[in-house]
């Protein structure tokens, strides 16, 4: 068993900055694929645009490198056309929460059976550290030098409210849990959303003077609390499995449409 069944070793080191969390996340995903023993041609890794949007470069699976914010919209067509595929949409917080926010909530509402993973570094890394919908009130960024006058999305809560089957939040510090949630998400058979909190030392860290990548990982760890110990009103974010429920998956529901229309006759 090795992540290099899924990750192209020749491509390493990655093009991401040192201290970036993206590499940890794709390693965890490769670990999840490996532990589930998935075949390369059964997986489609769909990406948007951004630093994290380059993730597909490192995978030896099928890849669909799309447009900023559109990973889930493309994944919807792939999954509906071939429900047997394991479809994974990899998104930055810009991809998932701003430009692609509409696709995110509607795929959750449909309960499309894909894994949607958001690498949340709380800013637009690729374009130079502008604030994103997951930047916090008061945050500094290349476009909020006086402090951000907007509040942030709680993405996991949003996706849960939109109707997802499985929602988990964790951090790059909690690697084993991350792999566990990715595996659960892939096997859920419904819309699975995993939000991973991670550092962007080059941009977010610099603008907010958060110290080294190591310092940032510790801060991220200290900002969260396991959901079992979390209380409403807490200034920390809950991590763990935030929502797990059984509902009919969209492609299966569409099979019923085909059945009612008589489209399976003669098969």
């Amino acid at each position: 068993m090795s992540i290099f069944n899924y990750i192209n070793e020749a491509k390493l080191p990655t093009f991401w900055c040192s201290g970036c969390g993206h590499g940890v996340i794709i390693k965890a995903l490769a670990d999840a694929f490996d532990q589930l023993e998935l075949a390369l041609n059964e997986i489609v890794v769909v990406t948007g645009i951004g630093c994290f949007g380059r993730s597909d470069d490192y995978f030896m699976t099928n890849a669909l490198h799309t447009l900023h914010g559109r990973a889930i919209a493309y994944a919807t067509g792939v999954k509906l056309a071939n429900p047997e595929l394991t479809v994974v949409a990899l998104m930055g917080d810009g991809d998932a929460a701003s430009i692609g926010g509409n696709h995110l909530i509607h795929a959750a509402r449909r309960n499309l059976g894909i894994l949607a993973l958001c690498a949340n570094n709380r800013n637009y890394g690729m374009t130079g550290g502008q604030y994103s919908p997951t930047s916090q009130f008061g945050d500094r960024s290349s476009t909020s030098r006086y402090g951000l006058p907007e509040s942030s999305f709680d993405l996991s809560a949003l996706v849960q409210a939109a109707g997802a089957s499985f929602v988990a939040r964790t951090t790059v510090f909690h690697y084993k849990n991350l792999v566990k949630y990715l595996k659960k998400g892939i096997n859920k058979g419904g819309f699975a959303f995993v939000e991973v909190m991670e550092p962007c030392p080059t941009m977010y860290g610099k603008f907010n003077q958060l110290g080294s990548a190591g310092d940032m990982v510790q801060q991220i760890r200290d900002e969260v609390v396991p959901v079992s110990r979390w209380k409403p009103g807490s200034d920390k974010s809950p991590i763990g499995i935030l929502c797990e429920r059984d509902m009919q998956e969209y492609c299966r529901a569409y099979d019923d449409v085909i059945r009612k229309a008589g489209g399976f006759d003669g098969d």
Partner: protein, 376 residues
């Protein structure tokens, strides 16, 4: 069996004959009946219909499904077309067959939701940044709409490009009788599929007009498709030579095949001194105007454009031989007229007949222009 069907229904019939199995769309007048019918008809044959959250998602989903090996279509009108453009670029770059039906209405913006227009001619050609060629077809009768829809799928599959089927509010909603059985033996083209053995490259090509064979997701090969400029493996490349090859191929695989792709209908007469060129709904009025003008003794050629893009340059030059004025009726401010001027140069007087009030151009209006031109 003859059926009395609308243009929008003709699109549905043509798509099903061509083998369409996936439709992703978002309702908009005057195209909505296409979505309505396909939502019922596709599941009857095991196909899929999905109503996406917007037109951006609609075309994105279609492209994703096409990469799984399905023949796909979406249908919209101007406001939705505007939203689709980023994904048109994706289909061009990733070379994904798809059919985009544009049932045109009057613009700009929300414009004339329930009235006719032909203002999207340039948008489909130049709307996606980068300026790469696409194919666009424009039927003017209901039977032609069935046929051109099949052709749209055939061309998309053959060249791995987005193909636009440009109808309009009047063609979409008017009815004519069509013999659907006459299309039973119509040639259907399916995309070339990569051989099972040997190394698979998703963008394997040697020549600038090559169209790489495809392999579906979930098939025998591992497949990469990318919006980023890529090499033959589908991997982003900074190498100017590889970039030049890819971009040149995107251009030449369509532009060099214009002769094969372009279709038109010419009705030429000896000694003609004028020519009427039009397309879509306006071509019907153009044709009638030419019949009446000839009856009154005028010598007029007629050319109906069926392939708007690539623009049928040779057909225009041929029809305009010996002619000193060309009348171009269209429901916009002169888009095809600009192309005609580009092709014919300054020697020929190109006279525009334009209308943007949501009504069609009547034959009398064209005859009036022909008469005025003859008198001056």
């Amino acid at each position: 069996m003859r059926k009395f069907i609308s243009g929008n229904e003709a699109v549905v019939e043509g798509a099903l004959i061509a083998g369409c199995r996936f439709f992703g769309g978002y309702p908009i007048t005057p195209s909505s009946e296409i979505a309505g019918h396909l939502s019922t008809r596709l599941p009857q044959i095991g196909g899929k219909y999905i109503q996406m959250e917007d037109e951006i998602g609609s075309l994105a989903a279609c492209i994703g499904a096409s990469l799984c090996g399905e023949k796909v279509m979406t249908a919209t009108s101007g406001p939705g077309l505007s939203l689709m453009l980023e994904n048109v670029g994706m289909a061009i770059m990733a070379e994904v067959p798809c059919v985009i039906v544009d049932v045109q209405r009057g613009g700009p913006s929300t414009g004339l939701a329930t009235k006719v227009g032909q203002g999207d001619v340039f948008q489909v050609r130049w709307g996606s940044h980068g300026g790469y060629p696409v194919i666009a077809l424009a039927p003017s009768t209901i039977a032609e709409t069935v046929e051109m829809t099949i052709e749209a799928f055939n061309l998309a599959e053959k060249y791995r490009v987005p193909v636009f089927l440009m109808t309009d509010k009047v063609i979409g909603h008017m009815r004519e009788d069509v013999d659907l059985e006459s299309f039973a033996g119509y040639p259907i083209i399916n995309r070339k599929v990569a051989p099972p053995d040997g190394e698979f490259l998703p963008y394997r090509a040697e020549n600038l007009t090559d169209v790489p064979p495809m392999s579906p997701y979930g098939g025998l090969h591992v497949v990469r498709a990318s919006s980023t400029t890529h090499d033959q493996r589908g991997v982003p490349t900074p190498d100017p030579e590889k970039i030049t090859f890819k971009n040149s191929r995107l251009y030449h695989k369509i532009q060099d095949k214009a002769g094969e792709i372009c279709r038109w209908e010419a009705d030429l007469m000896p000694g003609a001194d004028s020519l009427v060129v039009s397309f879509g709904i306006s071509a019907r009025s153009g044709k009638q105007a030419v019949v009446e003008a000839r009856a009154s003794g005028m010598k007029v050629n007629f050319l109906k454009i069926l392939t708007l893009w690539p623009f049928p340059e040779e057909a225009i030059s041929e029809a305009a031989r010996g002619v000193n004025k060309v009348v171009v009726p269209e429901l916009n401010w002169g888009q095809v007229a600009l192309e005609v001027e580009r092709v014919l140069g300054a020697d020929v007087n190109v006279i525009r007949v334009n209308k943007t009030d949501g009504t069609i151009i009547c034959p009398e209006e064209i005859i009036q222009v022909l008469n005025d031109a003859a008198a001056s």
